[in-house]
Symmetry: C2
Subunit: 331 residues, 2 copies
C-alpha cells in the first residue's frame, strides 16, 4: 500500500468512527438541544442501564403514542375525515339519493357550514356510510388508494408526508433501545393500519384504535370474509385509552405521548405506574410551519391535560422551540 493510499484508508476509518460516534451522541437530530430533548435521552438511558436503579427489562418497555396531532398533523380537519369526505364523493354515483339527502348533499356541494351544522349525528352518518358495509380487505384497499392520490388542501402534500420528523426519530430511537412502540388513537384502527407500518415502522398488531363491529361470513363464492358492520365496537379516546391499552396490550406503558385532552387518561394511567416513566404532550405552537392551537381549538383541544401536565411536570414539547424541522421533506 502506498503512503497516500494508506492515508485515504485511515481517513475513511476515522470518518466512519466519527459518524458512528455522532450517531450515538445525537439520536434525535431534528430536536433542538434543550430540556425536553435532554429529558427524552436521559429517560431512555436510565431505563436501559442494566443494574441501574431505573432499569426496566426490555419486554416491559412499552411506549404508546396518540396519532392525530402527535405523530402527524390534524388540521384543518382530521385526515381521516378528509378521507371520509372524499369517499362520499367517490361513492355518490351509487347513491343518487345523496343529491338531496343531508349531510351528504352538503359534502357534495362543498357546503361546510351545513355539514358542520349537522353535528355529531351527521358526522357519524358520514363515517358509517364510508367506513362500513364492506369487507375489511376492501376497506384497506380504499385507504391505500386514497393515501397515494389525495393531497392536503393547503400543504399540497400527501397526508403521509405530514408526519412529524422529530417523532419519527423518537420512535426509531426507542425501538433501537428495546422499546415496543404502539399507536393508541381515537382514529379508527384499520385506517391507521393501512399506513402505520410503512410510515411509522409500527406493525398492524401494534395499532390500537376505535373500531367497528366486524362479522365473519362465508360469501357466495365460498370465501370467508369479515364484514364491517355500521356499529361502533370500541371508542379509543379519553378514558377509553387506558381501557384500550389494557385490552390490546395488557401491560402499562412506561412512556406515553399525546397532544390533547383525549390523551389525558392515557398519561394518567402511565404516570400511575411504579417504574421510571415518561409522559409527554406535543403542543402546537408553530402557526407558520404547522399550526398553533390549544385551549380553544375544536380539533385537538388541549386544556385540562395541559393544566395537569404543568402541575405533574409532564414534558410539554413546544413544536416551535423544540423542533428543527416539522416534516421529513424539510430535512
Amino acid at each position: 500500500m502506498t503512503n497516500s493510499r494508506r492515508t485515504v484508508v485511515i481517513l475513511a476509518i476515522l470518518f466512519a468512527i466519527a459518524s458512528l460516534t455522532h450517531a450515538q451522541s445525537d439520536p434525535l437530530p431534528s430536536w433542538n438541544d434543550g430540556a425536553n430533548k435532554r429529558a427524552l435521552i436521559d429517560f431512555v438511558t436510565r431505563v436501559t442501564r442494566e443494574g441501574g436503579p431505573d432499569f426496566v427489562p426490555a419486554p416491559q418497555r412499552i411506549a404508546t403514542f396518540d396519532n392525530d396531532g402527535t405523530l402527524w398533523s390534524e388540521q384543518p380537519i382530521y385526515f381521516q375525515f378528509a378521507f371520509a369526505l372524499d369517499r362520499v364523493k367517490a361513492l355518490a354515483p351509487h347513491h343518487p339519493e345523496w343529491k338531496t339527502q343531508q349531510p351528504f348533499k352538503a359534502v357534495l356541494d362543498g357546503d361546510m357550514k351545513t355539514l358542520l351544522a349537522s353535528g355529531e349525528k351527521g358526522l357519524a352518518e358520514i363515517i358509517m356510510a364510508t367506513h362500513t358495509g364492506i369487507t375489511t380487505d376492501e376497506f384497506t384497499r380504499t385507504v391505500f388508494d386514497w393515501l397515494i392520490t389525495a393531497k392536503h388542501p393547503t400543504r399540497k402534500r400527501f397526508y403521509t408526508e405530514l408526519v412529524y420528523q422529530p417523532m419519527l426519530e423518537l420512535l426509531a430511537y426507542l425501538r433501537q433501545n428495546g422499546f415496543k412502540t404502539f399507536i393508541v388513537s381515537g382514529g379508527t384502527v384499520e385506517f391507521m393500519r393501512a399506513f402505520a407500518e410503512k410510515v411509522y415502522g409500527i406493525p398492524p398488531e401494534q395499532v390500537v384504535g376505535t373500531s367497528f363491529v366486524t362479522k365473519f361470513q362465508v360469501n357466495a363464492s365460498g370465501v370467508p370474509v369479515l364484514m364491517r358492520e355500521p356499529k361502533i365496537d370500541f371508542i379509543d379516546d379519553g378514558p377509553g385509552k387506558p381501557v384500550g391499552i389494557q385490552k390490546f396490550i395488557g401491560r402499562r406503558p412506561i412512556m406515553a405521548f399525546g397532544n390533547s385532552d383525549g390523551d389525558q387518561q392515557m398519561l394518567q394511567w402511565t404516570d400511575a405506574g411504579t417504574t421510571a416513566r415518561f409522559m409527554g404532550l406535543v403542543r402546537h405552537t408553530d402557526a407558520e410551519r404547522e399550526w398553533a392551537y390549544d385551549r380553544d381549538s375544536h380539533i385537538g383541544k388541549l386544556d385540562r391535560a395541559l393544566d395537569e401536565a404543568l402541575s405533574r411536570k409532564w414534558v410539554v414539547v413546544d413544536m416551535k422551540k423544540d423542533w428543527k424541522v416539522i416534516y421529513p421533506a424539510e430535512k
Copy 2:
C-alpha cells in the same frame, strides 16, 4: 500444547459442532419422525427461504394458537373453570348468602351434578362472580397466586406443568425463524396473560381472548384503576376467532393451530390467505398419557372441524403417534 491436550480441544470443538448440527437438524426433538413433523419443518423452511417461491417476509409470519387443548390440557374441566371454582371457595367467607344460593351452594358442597344442571346460566354466574368486580391488577394477582398453589386433581401437578412439550418446541422453532406467535383462545385474556409469557414465551400483547368490559376510574386515593365489569366485551370463539385476529392483530395468520370445532373458522380464515400457509389440529388420542376424546366430548369437541381438516388436507396431529412426550416433566 501437548498432543493429548490438543486432542481434547479438537474433540471439544467437534462435539460443539455436532451439537450445533444436531440442534439445527432437529428443531422438534419431542416430535416423532413422520409426515406431520416433516410438514411442519418443510413449511417453516419454505416460507423463510429468501428468493424461494413460498417466501413470506418476517413481519407477515403470524402464527396463532388456540390455548385449551392445543397448548395445554383441558380435562376434566377447563383449567380456568377450576380456577373459578377455587375462587368461589376462597371468596365464600365474604358471601354468606352462597351457602344457600345456587349455583354457589353446589360448588361449596362439591355437588358437581347440581352445578352442571345449572347450565350455561349458572356457569356464567360463577365466572362473573369470580372474574369481575375487581381491578385488573387485583385479578392478575389472584391468578398468579392460584397458579403457584393449585394442582390438577388427578395429574397432581401445577396446571402450568400440563403444557405440551412438543408445542413449546414448535413455538420456539417458529420464533427462531422470525414468526410472531400469538394465542387466540376462547379463554379470558387476562387469565392467560398471567402465565403466557413465562410458560409459552408469548407476551401479554400477543394474547387474544374473551374479555370483560373494563372501566377507567380514579379511586378514593386518587389512583387511576381499571375496574372489571360483570359484562362480556368480546367472545373469542368460533366465528369470533377471525374477528379477534383482525381486531387485535390486523393481519391474517400464515399458520394456525387448534384442537376443536371452536377453532374451525380460525383455520378457514387462515386457509383463505394467498401465501403459503399451515393449518393444524391437535387430536387428543392418548388416553394413557393425556386424554382421548373428539366427536362426542363435552369439552374440546372435535367434529365438524375434523371433517373439514380431512377434506382440506389440514394437518391433524395424532398426540399418541406424533409426540414422544406430552408434558415437559417427561423429558
